[in-house]
């Protein structure tokens, strides 16, 4: 985590999606509020650049995006090497919260932080819907 903060937090590295795109994605992300216990969400470019987020700070969003794409990437590699097929979504259930991850088309990853009391089945359904919308928006942009 500290290494990622050094990389993404101490330098202002340019790379910003156009407002026409981020405005539409923000409306999508806010639909995740339908999930009880939703804390925050990010749409990350497949390499980890923040496209849109609902976190308090850009630094936190950059860290979450970097970790999310790395986790999805390593999950894909694991699935591939175990012959399990394609990665669909993942839950990282921890003592203090839940990280829900899914691809949003091939160009982006959607990651959401939830509290431990969230209904994960409902979260999965809503996230799949939001991910589909994100994919469509990116394809049109």
């Amino acid at each position: 985590m500290q290494t990622l903060q050094i990389l993404v937090g101490n330098e202002n590295i340019p790379g910003k999606a156009p407002a026409s795109l981020t405005n539409r994605l923000q409306a999508c992300l806010l639909q995740m509020r339908e999930v009880d216990g939703f804390i925050a969400g990010v749409v990350s470019r497949a390499d980890g650049l923040v496209i849109q987020h609902t976190l308090q700070s850009a630094q936190e969003a950059a860290t979450l995006c970097a970790l999310a794409v790395a986790t999805v990437g390593s999950s894909r590699a694991t699935a591939s090497r175990l012959g399990l097929g394609g990665f669909d979504h993942g839950f990282l259930v921890c003592d203090g919260g839940v990280l829900l991850l899914t691809g949003a088309g091939r160009e982006a990853v959607l990651a959401c932080l939830l509290d431990t009391k969230s209904n994960l089945g409902m979260a999965k359904i809503i996230m799949a819907r939001v991910a589909g919308m994100v994919e469509t928006i990116l394809a049109e942009a």
């Binding site: 340019p14 156009p18 970097a66 091939r106």
Partner: protein, 210 residues
């Protein structure tokens, strides 16, 4: 005839040799007590390291996370290096030249990189669109090193893309991203890096589960 808006910096063989003398010899000092080398008076030691070992960092990371996340981390390290490099080189030349505008400070990257053995490049800058393009006609040292171990599916030089972005943004006060659009390491005839506002990755670069 219309006046061109594109400025271009490149080196001859002689100029590259001269840059090597300055960058890799004159500006490199040896500390015999510690057995370390220091470039341009910097406190951090400078090391000779095979280019293929730098590519290994990318290889290891991409084997764990896939290419694009690995690319970004390599890019970020390169960005920091390019930004600091531009600051350092500007500091070395300050007071010795009348006044170095942004273009001359951008163009200074070409002899610096060639002299440091990173590869000989030409840099183009369109004064109207502000687009910037770095081309290594023979490939970067990283790409040449990577190619020795076989043609890669993906570009081998995200570190250099980040370096180009860091240097360019530092001197032009711009906010570009850079993308490697051709790479010797992945079978191209040259390495080319182009500026953009918000890069999108080609379909072929995006991971698949198929």
């Amino acid at each position: 005839m219309e006046a061109t808006t594109i400025k271009r910096a490149s080196l001859t063989n002689e100029e590259s040799q001269k840059a090597f003398q300055r960058i890799s010899k004159d500006l490199l000092a040896h500390d015999p007590e510690r057995g370390t080398n220091h470039w341009g008076g910097a406190a951090v030691p400078a090391m000779l390291l095979g280019a293929d070992r730098i590519v290994d960092f990318l290889r290891v990371l991409e084997s764990i996370t896939g290419f694009l996340p690995a690319r970004r981390q390599s890019y970020l390290v390169g960005y920091k290096s390019g930004k600091r490099g531009a600051e350092l080189v500007a500091g070395l030349d300050s007071g010795k030249l009348p006044e170095q505008g942004p273009w001359l400070r951008l163009a200074a990257a070409a002899p610096t990189l060639s002299g440091a053995g990173w590869g000989r490049c030409s840099i183009e800058y369109d004064e109207v669109s502000r687009a910037v393009r770095w081309e290594f006609a023979q490939g970067t040292a990283l790409a040449i090193g990577a190619l020795l171990e076989g043609v890669r599916k993906d570009p081998s030089c995200p570190f250099v893309a980040g370096f180009a972005a860091g240097w360019t943004n530092q001197v032009l006060e711009s906010e570009f991203e850079f993308k490697e659009v051709e790479c010797v390491g992945s079978g191209g005839s040259r390495c080319v890096f182009e500026s953009g506002e918000f890069i999108r990755f080609r379909r072929a670069e995006v991971p698949t589960d198929e």
